[in-house]
Symmetry: C2
Subunit: 242 residues, 2 copies
DNA sequence: GCAAAAGTGTTGTGTCTACACCCATGT
DNA sequence: ACATGGGTGTAGACACAACACTTTTGC
């Protein structure tokens, strides 16, 4: 099942092994990290690889990657999952033809999932040798996250339920790779109605200081908050009559 | 070859038919149109479908879609091709399990490729019944083009080598679905260094009028021209010492 | 000269960064 | 009091849309 008998294929027809992979990212200790497992058998024995595995006959690719990730991290911790790209170079694996669809997965920084012995988190800025084309896939994941931080509410998937602006600033700085001003971060996200205050405050730290107000994301699903403004008419805003 | 013997699969392993599809867009008669062919046999006999076909054993997905498109349009007319998404719902085809990777292809408006008898262009604003999930794929293609017109030079793939600002304005208006001011279009694209004047002018039209200057795209490959500006430090511009 | 089409000058607006200043808490 | 960190006010830079105005052609 799931495989057509050869006798049927009057047209040119080819079935390849299809795998799903994921770039799972989390901010840990003020750095963006990716989940990798160490291969013990060839090809690329000893190298690190992205988690994933074969697609089953009756599942979608998204279901497949969730299923394979369940062995690495608790799926309930995956706050966001989206498709990145599909890799199909016949030489991407030295042993067999394999098409792979890559996903980007995000885990909130307050989660600390238990991982198997062969699996661990690696700083995206200092990756070890990666198997297959996994290095370039990881790069794609970083760039997708970076871009979407600018024009969507995707940071909800990296943040805990409630947080101060300072804490959120650390997440953005780690994910973007450069410093971010808390002043402007707050203004941009409040103006776009991405954040809302919970009303509560966080207790002051060890050395005193004003306690920060707590915020939460208004939506915990991906939303585009800054549609591309260029070349769009600005007028005809549906407003009240004068 | 390209198919593993069953005896080998100790792990869960499944091979699905993999197809490539393309949303090929062109601006024709001031409207954005998509290339469709009419199915003559089930499933969806009589419905219109996106061009594409099976993936061969030794080719990439990009090679595959170029090969299948060659039967519909001259591949040399394809000015741009990029991957959109991979569809994997087991129920997307009523007859067999098929995974499909969709592409977006763009054809310059001056090209007029000969197409087979079962194939024709359709206004994206008034599509007929489409087979499978091709309607939603077409929608994805439109949206990808729309978004990229705002922050990349992707219009090069819709435009001829040389054109006036007015002609370019028509392309943008058709692809975006709303009117665009030639004044601002010119300024945005010149400021970003996307366009350059050729020096030549187009002869005046039937009713006189000042002849328009001709421009060309500085690059005929996709380039991001308006990196997301938000949350990025604006300072430290590499400049000369005072 | 006059209509038609192209192109420039200018103004206003909205969104962002940067920086100064004020506020709240612990010791 | 004073150090420490949180939050607001405001100014300046920039990119854009809108519109008036000038330029260049055909008739």
């Amino acid at each position: 099942m799931g495989r057509k008998p050869d006798g049927n294929s009057s047209d040119r027809h080819f079935t390849a092994g299809h795998t799903s992979l994921a770039v799972v990212l989390q901010v840990r200790r003020a750095a963006l990290q990716v989940l990798l497992w160490r291969r013990s058998s060839p090809p690329f024995a000893g190298a690190w690889a992205l988690p994933g595995g074969y697609l089953d006959a009756h599942e979608t690719l998204e279901h497949s990657i969730r299923r394979h990730l369940a062995a690495k991290v608790d799926v309930r911790e995956l706050a966001h999952l989206e498709q990145l790209e599909t890799l199909s170079d016949p030489r991407r694996s030295p042993t067999a033809r394999e098409v792979a669809t890559a996903f980007l997965g995000l885990v909130p920084c307050n989660a600390d999932p238990a991982v198997p012995a062969d699996t661990s988190w690696h700083d995206v800025g200092a990756l070890p040798m990666l198997a297959f084309d996994h290095a370039s896939i990881t790069q794609s994941g970083r760039e997708r996250l970076r871009a979407k931080l600018s024009y969507t509410n995707i940071a909800f998937a990296l943040a805990p339920d409630e947080f101060t602006i300072s804490e959120l600033r650390e997440l953005y700085a780690a994910a973007l790779g450069h410093d971010v001003s808390p002043t402007n971060l707050q203004r941009v996200l409040l103006r776009r109605d991405v954040l809302e205050p919970t009303g509560a405050r966080r207790a002051s730290g060890r050395a005193g200081g004003r306690p920060g107000a707590l915020f939460r994301f208004r939506e915990r699903r991906l939303q585009v908050t800054d549609e591309f403004a260029v070349l769009r008419p600005r007028g005809r805003v549906a407003g009240s009559a004068p």
